[in-house]
Symmetry: C2
Subunit: 318 residues, 2 copies
């Protein structure tokens, strides 16, 4: 699946990515997906150029209109003069490359625009899954100079929490008439959103959904000086309400900066990232070799001869 | 949230759990949820008594009827003379305790039955999430002597892959008329199921869903001697078809044993478990201390002074 990249090509690739060349950016994201050993020099070269982008997470259950909303947001952000990098992370496809069709549809509209980059990423999850690949891909787009990096994920369960972990601003998208799915997801989403957007607001049940959300958020404990997440309404298909979303994102970004929360969130994100890279390095080491110590330990645990704690101690050389 | 357990109480607790006392089993599962340091002696004591249970994963999108199906399966398994331990893992509630209401409803029916144990688990995910807590809770129920350990999860995205990783037999539940959700989930599920069950089979679209599934499975690459996953149909509400599911589970278990695949799967599971425990131990170590080395590294990465690879090297002492 992956083209080989010559290590000596890295400096040039990084330079071209930093200049915003889409093909070079795409190549670096592929290196991230492939968990390439070349990431090490790439990330070292990119580090000084990171931290500028506003990283926005967009999450929602299947069917709420994530792709349409992303598309509308790109348009509104471009109209406001911002360049936009989009990562559509598809955790439902751990084995094979994700939502390519959706990509192609969206890319047609923005294909001629150099200030827009859109990329699907499957979270293959060999070494670290979403928590390993996504922040590094964000790092690539950030260093490439995009003003806004939008990370779109299917939000059901754990994944929206992970998105909240890596974004400056997390946008939770909902839509009326989703039934059980929304119910199941609700418990988790009330704690992670900085912005709630009820899409398909022209449909029956939109008002009720907004009321329910407001009631749910009111019950969620928040400090008096904490950010109060607004609940916005859109019809992404027609663009209705999308400018207000862009404004809401901007306000949250300003709040983050004014309160010092931006630094707090980014330190937390960097912490998780370093941990994920360290864990991936250990996993890679454990998986290496024909006479893997881990295999022998696993066999002993499977046979009931050893418990997983003693085996983990042995693995860590303790 | 957690009652303290006195370390000296561990041997007695383990003894009573092994004798199948529900309260002792529940207490041990709580220790798993709390990622208690007492798990170490607990797991050492349980290890020799594990490996007997048939571990069955049941996964499906919200709304397909997982709770009703689990309930019907419990009934059918009990009628066949099996004891059943159920773990309902709710990855949508990483922050607060999961589907308690569902639990209570189900427990009423089986409350008087000592051979049935049902427990909801939130995957809080502090150190390792689902991949850390679930296999250890399975270990507790296995050692407690349950013939079948049923792990029920909301299957959207990554989680069904994780369930497939920890179960001997993975059952994927679907239902007609789920729209986008199923579409989104489909790519992932075709590779993980040992048994497919179309629930709500009395509804419109059930036949079509079975045809689509059959077509999808036919396109999935499988070795000639591999297990061919059956597609069954149930109406869990009335119990229709549930005995055939029990039979299907039994056939798969026999196949696993006859082909040696049971040992292969279990070694793989033990491998993942040892890795997860080792990673959790490292995370706990990194998180300890007021002057955390990780915090300093994270700050340097957030400031763009260091890249995450160099920071991870430093964290690992290299």
């Amino acid at each position: 699946m992956s083209r080989r990249t010559d290590p000596s090509a890295v400096p040039d690739l990084v330079e071209r990515a930093r200049a915003g060349q889409a093909r070079a950016v795409a190549r670096l994201v592929s290196l991230v997906e492939d968990e390439s050993p070349l990431l090490r020099p790439v990330m070292a070269a990119l580090a000084p150029h990171t931290g500028r982008a506003h990283v926005v997470g967009l999450t929602g259950a299947p069917g709420v209109g994530k792709s349409t909303s992303t598309n509308a947001l790109i348009g509104a952000l471009r109209a406001a003069g911002r360049s936009v990098g989009v990562l559509a992370v598809d955790p439902s496809s751990p084995f094979s490359g994700g939502a390519l069709l959706g990509d192609r549809i969206r890319m047609q509209e923005h294909a001629a625009d150099d200030a827009v980059f859109i990329r699907s990423m499957a979270s293959r999850g060999h070494l670290g899954g979403l928590s390993f690949t996504t922040p590094q891909a964000v790092r690539v787009l950030d260093a490439a100079g995009f003003d806004v990096v939008l990370v779109e994920t299917v939000g059901v369960g754990q994944s929206e929490v992970e998105v909240a972990g890596l974004a400056d601003t997390t946008m939770v998208l909902l839509a009326p008439g989703m039934g059980d799915g929304i119910q199941a997801a609700k418990a988790g989403i009330l704690e992670v959103g900085d912005l709630y957007v009820v899409n398909k607001a022209d449909r029956d049940g939109a008002d009720r959904l907004r009321r329910d959300l407001r009631a749910g958020l009111a019950l969620t404990e928040r400090a008096a000086d904490a950010w109060q997440p607004p609940i916005l309404a859109t019809v992404a298909q027609t663009g209705q309400g999308v400018d207000e979303v862009v404004e809401g994102l901007e306000q949250h970004r300003t709040w983050l900066q004014d309160t010092g929360q931006l630094a707090v969130r980014r330190a937390r994100r960097a912490r998780a990232e370093v941990e994920a890279v360290a864990v991936a390095a250990l996993r890679a080491r454990w998986d290496l070799g024909d006479h893997s110590a881990l295999d022998a330990l696993a066999a002993a645990v499977a046979a009931g001869e050893q418990d997983p704690y003693a085996a983990a101690d042995a693995l860590l050389g303790e």
